[in-house]
């Protein structure tokens, strides 16, 4: 699929939280920046030491409190800087992805993937596609219509 180098800027403000592994995807996002690939501006990146650090509750808390999307990205399986962190993460995140819709949170708002430090192009694709998906879903209604994000 050809990826457009720009994302429409109209529409409501969308906030996506990205949890990126320090060793791979954070570097991949940096590579994309250094290569001057255009990226959507909706993503707020949080750097984590490894996807093994990624508590599924981070994603749950973000979505419950009204983040519009959560993107987790780490080293490809078998490429983990700490050998096995992403293997644990893969199971936890997959369980979360199946659990969210049961609680009434659209599972399309949560995505996890693997991007290595050299894959700037792939990072651009991943983030663009996810951002478009969230734009098409619109703002997250949140669990509480009278809550923090009224």
């Amino acid at each position: 699929m050809a990826v457009e180098n720009a994302v429409a800027e109209s529409g409501p403000t969308i906030r996506i939280v990205g949890f990126l592994c320090n060793w791979c995807s954070y570097g991949g996002a940096d590579t994309a920046g250094v290569c001057r690939f255009k990226q959507p501006t909706d993503l707020r990146i949080i750097r984590i030491p490894c996807t093994g650090r990624m508590d599924p509750l981070f994603a749950a808390k973000a979505l419950i409190n009204g983040a519009d999307g959560v993107l987790v990205s780490g080293c490809h399986p078998r490429d983990c800087h700490y050998a096995v962190g992403n293997f644990y993460a893969r199971r936890r995140l997959e369980v979360l992805k199946h659990f969210l819709p049961f609680m009434g949170i659209d599972e399309r708002r949560f995505h996890y993937t693997w991007v290595s430090a050299s894959e700037g192009q792939r990072w651009q694709e991943v983030v663009t596609r996810f951002s478009e998906e969230i734009h098409s879903l619109g703002p997250n209604p949140g669990v509480d219509s009278h809550g923090l994000k009224a």
Binding site: L57, V84, R91, V95, L96, G104, V143, D144, H146
Partner: protein, 317 residues
């Protein structure tokens, strides 16, 4: 009941303390009983009103300990409790060698809230299960209820009424009330809604939550206790704010920390003062873990819970 007392008396020389059930404030309520002297064995009871899962007392501080290490701790377990015990053994939270497990095949326990909803009962003189009926004799008459009317939801979906670990088995094995196919009926009822409908369902249910944390406190596997992240200030996951996001997040914490560990014993739901179907979330997680990793919690003491391990060969997950 007699058989249980006799078995405990026969084992008493090896036991320092025995955890079982005794009579509560009336015949429709059992309560946990800690037997430390042989004379107290007569207080042990076993009936459909013995509802508490006693295995939590083995792992949660102050855990029941045998001071004389040569002696053992006796504990009564039903089928569901035995699975909690297996989960505790798997995670090395209790040591199997220290325990003398009295297994009790269980026909189901009565949910007194359902019973009371059917008819007011005054001055109960006796209550017993005969076949598929519960007979309650009160000061006026004998009332009959079908088990479907009065059993707890966890018992209606029970697939393991017989203990999976025990040293002494008391009574005959009984047939399970549900199959592995129909035990998820309640989960499927929620899944039949669309995503907005499910959110509305949980909003309505969790709006009632008063965050008393009884569900967490009753859970035999929630062993963090004072260090539970729902209450620590650092990290501060939850505030005092009493809106729905905090309630949702609390239940996410409770449920996700039990993913792949929860044996669906139903204690959280039994103790909920607001009658929130708390176990439903764990049932769904149990099903996810079963589908993705082919694992059922609390059956094999040698197994590792799936989220505490990994498999590099998996690709779909």
């Amino acid at each position: 009941m007699k058989e249980l007392r006799q078995a405990v008396e026969a084992q008493w020389p090896n036991l320092e303390v025995m955890i079982g059930w005794g009579w509560g404030f009336d015949l429709l309520h059992g309560r946990p009983l800690f037997v430390r002297k042989i004379e107290e064995v007569a207080g042990l009871v076993w009936n459909p009103f013995c509802v508490q899962n006693l295995t939590g007392y083995l792992a949660k501080i102050p855990a029941v300990q045998a001071e004389d290490k040569a002696k053992k701790i006796g504990v009564c377990v039903r089928g569901c409790d035995s699975r909690s015990l297996v989960a505790l053994i798997q995670e090395k939270l209790v040591s199997r060698e220290q325990l003398m497990v009295f297994g009790l095949p269980c026909q189901g326990t009565v949910d007194w809230r359902r019973l009371a909803a059917h008819s007011p009962l005054v001055g109960v003189k006796s209550a017993r299960i005969e076949g598929e009926r519960l007979l309650v004799e009160d000061s006026r008459t004998i009332r009959e209820f079908t088990l479907d009317q009065v059993l707890a939801r966890r018992c209606l979906r029970c697939t393991h009424p017989n203990p999976v670990v025990y040293d002494v088995l008391i009574g005959e094995q009984v047939a399970p009330r549900a199959t592995s196919l129909d035990r998820y009926r309640d989960v499927e009822r929620v899944e039949a809604l669309d995503v907005g409908g499910r959110l509305a369902f949980w909003r309505e249910a969790l709006d009632r939550c008063i965050r008393c944390y009884a569900c967490r406190n009753a859970c035999p596997l929630c062993i963090c206790q004072d260090r539970c992240i729902a209450e620590t200030r650092d990290p501060k996951w939850l505030s005092q704010y009493m809106g729905l996001p905090e309630k949702f997040l609390f239940h996410f914490i409770h449920a996700l920390h039990l993913a792949g560990r929860c044996t669906e014993c139903g204690e959280c739901e039994r103790v909920c003062p607001m009658e929130i179907p708390v176990t439903l979330m764990k049932e769904k997680l149990g099903r996810i873990v079963g589908d993705l990793m082919g694992y059922e919690a609390g059956l094999d003491p040698e197994a590792t819970p799936p989220l505490l391990t990994f498999n590099p060969a998996e690709t779909g997950v």
